[in-house]
Subunit: 249 residues, 8 copies
């Protein structure tokens, strides 16, 4: 598209519909990225099926509705994270023509239809039930980006046989997201079992010297099994996003 804009200027100049000064002016008048950032533009239109994600905290329902409307006008699917049910109702009310759904665990609003499922599998593994909201945010994000997603829940290291039972499922994934709070040991165990890329998500589950997820974060960064990388505490969205990227790569 952007290249087309450039091409049109050039053609108009060639055809005498523009003189050099006028063409020059148009070239300058074009948004910077039209020339210099064609790649980025391409990249952005490639991403059109998955535009900027709306992070809801700190925005009013009204602001969120307007942003979602704008994004939904040009995108097949839009997601808004950490949304309340009240915000969901506001969005649903405003976008009546489009399918709008809400997952109360993930606290995520999805507008529109995700792309067709990928071949590869993204597996979301969760240590404890308290980690589920973060895990669901990861799962719903990956799904919105077109990934086929399966879940494996409550398989933390306090009963290590639980994850061992599911070795085969681990091996079938193209990317594994492992969500764990407290001591954050599950990614080390999972990565020790299979050769799949593991994205570790520390959660703020815990109390006392858990300092809102620091032990899990540090443990995952210091995982003794190679093949693990870490996203921010409670960042289910980021993990699901990266898993879908790996899955689609």
């Amino acid at each position: 598209m952007d290249r087309e804009k450039v091409r049109k200027v050039l053609r108009d100049l060639k055809a005498g519909r523009l003189n050099v000064g006028k063409a020059m002016e148009k070239m300058r008048g074009l948004p910077f990225e039209d020339l210099g950032f064609a790649k980025i533009d391409t990249h952005r239109s490639l991403r059109k099926g998955f535009p900027e994600v709306v992070y809801c905290p700190g925005k009013t329902d009204d602001q969120i509705v307007r942003i979602v409307e704008k994004l939904a006008a040009t995108s097949n699917v839009v997601i808004a994270t950490r949304a309340t049910a009240k915000t969901y109702r506001a969005v649903r009310g405003a976008l009546d023509g489009k399918p709008v759904s809400y997952d109360p665990t993930a606290k995520m609003i999805t507008v529109g239809m995700p792309p067709k499922k990928s071949q590869g599998l993204v597996l979301i593994v969760t240590a404890g039930t308290s980690d589920l909201p973060v895990a669901e945010e990861a799962a719903r994000t990956a799904e919105a980006m077109g990934a086929r997603v399966e879940r494996l829940t409550d398989v933390g290291v306090a009963g290590v046989h639980r994850i061992l039972e599911h070795r085969q499922k681990l091996e079938h994934a193209r990317a594994i997201v492992v969500v764990a709070g407290m001591e954050g040991a599950l990614p080390s165990v999972v990565s020790g079992l299979v050769d799949r890329p593991v994205i570790a998500v520390p959660t703020s589950v815990g109390y006392g010297a858990s300092f809102d997820g620091l032990p899990a974060l540090l443990a995952m960064l210091n995982a003794c099994s190679p093949g693990v990388a870490v996203v921010n505490i409670d960042n289910g969205f980021g993990a699901g996003y990266l898993a879908a990227r790996i899955n689609a790569a």
Copy 2:
């Protein structure tokens, strides 16, 4: 193999060569992994082309030589990280039949022949020249695991046009490792430019309130562009390993 052991017990029982008590005993007597961990075993033999990596600090040259010899007996390629030139000479002296090389920047010893290069590309992007040892550790590790690797060095954000010039190369990679110290901003910029998985490696380059890499680590965990995951400070090996996993997935 392991399944065969089980099958044999069952056959012997069926054939009357064992009674139930004896069979029961044999079942119990089998090493745990013989039944339960066949997958893990398979997994381990799958990994044979890339066995355990030798982390040299805290080991004597003699210990390292013996470990490398043992691993090299069953593996096509063995790597030893954070090795001195002196350790390299000791290893080279002991393994005369095999190709042994040493990269003084990465401080890595490679024994044997890496597998044939993969189709996909792993790109190692480095912010500053001081980050090169960590970057080379990542590059050499990925190469030893069979990845095709390219490098992009000294493209830090103090001169942001440098990375912009190489957008195309970024887009051709299946996995991008971004190595940066100080404020650790490069992964955010890279991940904002392309939709490739980005593995961020904070380095301990810096002084004063750099606390051995903490700012870069925190910055990367808080990257505003999604699609970034982080490994431990200075952990080039871990990043290269994960990039090769993603590339091979």
Copy 3:
């Protein structure tokens, strides 16, 4: 004024209206700063156009009204930061003769007329929309101190082309305030583009391992481009104040 007080004592002594003992007593009785801190006094009267700023949190509306009244009696412009709309209405009600305005984003009350705009330009650059309240606090503070201010918003490093489009504006500023949360990378990029003094303001925008702004703070202190100095997290006021000082220097 203070010097006049000293001069009067000296004249009265000279004229015989005081004897030495009495003059000595008066000299001692003068507030300390009258003699010793003439400089400071001068400085304070120079600052009269911009007196002490009222930091509202922890003060009652009644207290704030009284402080603002007192300051407004001797100053052309008074600002109160982190004020609620309710406080604003209380202040506006009490100061009917004077122009009183309120900016709900900056949460700042301005009483009176700022001095004539300076020649130089203070540019306020913001990474994301969540950083706007801090940025507006900086902008309104600099304006109240007489600076000509322009804003550049939502130009964070996740889409680095956005800041690149505005290089000229960056070059025209005498001081640049860069406001960013999360990984706090924007000041490095800005300072790498132009040779203007950059004042970096980390914000507490983020979650998880963002520890209320620590990553941005540390990143800015460790910026790889020289020419950056940092103020406290969320301290838009301090940044705007310093930018206006530099601009007026």
Copy 4:
């Protein structure tokens, strides 16, 4: 003994060998612990087989020799921790009549004969080979206090089947010491497998964001399996001491 001193005063008073004033004076003159701390004294004499432990860093060989000599005069066994081989030679040279041994891994000197082995078993479980010095300090300390000790080494969570193979041994211990660095996940796994008391020892093994053992320490404090308590980083001595106490209880 102490009680005997009191009893003697009382008898002398009764027998007229002391008057009340003199007896009162003697009562007061007795060292405080003679009356009030008989328990402590008993406790100290009970501990005579295991007196104060000599922590070597910061002491000269000469000082260590003199302290060990003094302790060895009244105790069957004396241990000195974190000792160099040079210190060992100095101690051995000075105490020729007594058996003196040195363990170079634990860096511990043992003088004299430990008490007869206890019935119960103390099991020392180690995640990686780099954790061995700390583990051996624990093992040697528990042995010096009379515990029967077994070791289980290199069973970290990167290959979780290794610890699973040894479930029976875990179940036979009266106290289990688990030594691990990096992400410190092993105590959670062990404590999830058996109902034995687990004493977790974080080690400073690691690099980057391992901050001398902080991740392992925090992970162990936040272990999701109950039944785990933690000692200081690298404090093998403290763990072995407590395990021997539990074993003897």
Copy 5:
């Protein structure tokens, strides 16, 4: 039971009721833990008198009621920690046939009948009255696991004679839990008085530079008397659990 399942397959094979292929299939079809984790299973059934503990924060009353019902169906005693009085009423209403009690200090619900009291004694020592909720959580947990429990309260080091008066009680315990906030010095003093295992529980009692219990946590980890191990801040449950384990060992 699990072994019986295996034995049955073997017998059926022997008896011709299964052929080898079918037996093989059944062996594989058995849940993993049936073979591989018989020990764990045994352990779990041994633990049936004390199943998983319900940690209430973050769960709805309805969820808690359902979990407790399920656990109570197969266990003699069930505990739920950090429960509100409202949750207690919900649980009590749902489990009418069973004894249900609530301790408002410990905020713990106990369902069913704890096992017969053990011979050994668990002693819960508390520094100040503000530490009582954590101490009671420890006490109630140990009691629910069958331990005989005594309490010693308000014996902090600001009046060190208070703990000295109770030396005999300290000596009679098989395990001592010491609960303290602020400077967390009491475990050092207790462990210096007697040779019993000491489990230290730091509490978040304090203000200012108490950082939610960090000083007490660090102090306890650095206790100068050996024989102390530490659980997480405010983790009365974990301390009581471990004390009961030691007591029963």
Copy 6:
């Protein structure tokens, strides 16, 4: 220049010397910075009088010599920071035609002739004598960039009259760099006295809970007088650089 290149393509197209496809290709073929980064280029040549600074730690003398030679070929002045005397001798030996000097306090090498002194004054204020190396690094950097520099040393807050005596000098500066370790209070006092921009440099001078400069860093970020911004601990170079930028603005 860059615009001329674009204009030329457009003219050639207009004149029929290029067709649209060819013009399109040329547009794309132009190096990115040719269009988009002309500003940056200009900026870089503007900066030619003060090129990249050589940070010596971690580089060999040989590397430093080659970098300095390369920079000195195109720049009037080159500086190398944190250089040893040995490095200085190596540089001086290699650059015989050029003036090379070394300041052992600042540990800075200066090659070539700084630009003519600016009108404005940069004042370097130092709390204690131990802060002098950092202060001199700031002073020498600002001088190399053409600033007129004065120094005010040993005027820390333990004797607050010392800084008060020099109020006039403070008022004459266009930018003030304040260097202080320990409690880092001096910038607050200086900024309270005058309305000049204050750049605060925390130093790692101190011991105990000084954590390599953290108290001074935090104190300066929390300065109660507005008008202060902070650079990294011990970053004299960065402070001098920014001061010279402000002075030249």
Copy 7:
């Protein structure tokens, strides 16, 4: 008294009213502190004029009333810190015979009559108006303990002349309490001016990287003027208590 108890046993023994065994028993039977802690007892009765202080947070009004009643029965003055006005009304209602007062700034309840004023002076110096609650807690505590107290408020280092005006008052104090938040620089300045003991109280006043008072705490611990010691953040009570101790010493 306690000594009398001992003397009586000895006399009864001497007089034949007790035999040695019985006397021995009585000696043992005496409460521990009767012999060993006579000093402590004396100390406690000396402290009767100033008994345990009631720290109100976490206690119900009813509990506070009962504790205050009990303490007031045997003490001339009782104080309760961090009390609400509601608690004050409850206490006043219950203790009708006694004078009960409440200071809403200090949030302190005082019951009864403080002892006669001491000769020496305790001076409470405050940096900013936000520090007043902590300062008043210090002042009221010292007054309740009998100290003559003066206050010096709003003399922070942003206008250093303010404290200089009051040098004489500083010199007349026997102990100086300095209360400051933000950068916590005032104690250094005060201690540099006079040779009086300075007790520094960091407050949690501030925002951003003020981390609830950490900068002030660290700054005060690192004060460059000797003669300063520090209490916990916001611990006005502790500072006033210590100042009164020094004043009375």
Copy 8:
């Protein structure tokens, strides 16, 4: 003196030897401290018996010798802290006329004769033998300032009866310095026993999670007994200085 200068100007004006303008000029021309800082001057001459203390680290022997010579010329006693034996020999060689002594434990050089001993007693209490260097620095500093000093060593809380034996000595002190590392509990115990001012000195003695003295520092700041204030880690000098100030007050 300073007042005399003012008085002279006034008299000269009165007598016609100066006119008002000239007098005004002289008033302004007087060095600032002549008027405003007479107090400080007096204070400095009062302090002449104890001038600035030389902190040796980071200074050459030559620099130290020159500073000590200069101070010794006008002071009766000079101390230099953290000095090596080599520095001592250099100082002793240069100051032959004066008594020079060196304490190798405290690492302190004392030049000249301390003032006559005070009536009051400063007591230095030490937890363990490793804390002795810091304790001796405190003791020697207080002695150099004229305090009568006694020492109580190795009375840490691992054997709490040791401090209890010395209650009387504690009660006789006017100020008590308590030096302790590891968990830093001793100041709480001491302050709970007597009503003397307690200055707590945390030491960096310890390992693992002792972070160079942080646990002791935090414990002392959170001491549950009021009457404790804290100096920096290992700051024996500061504690001795403050104790001497209190003793002399």
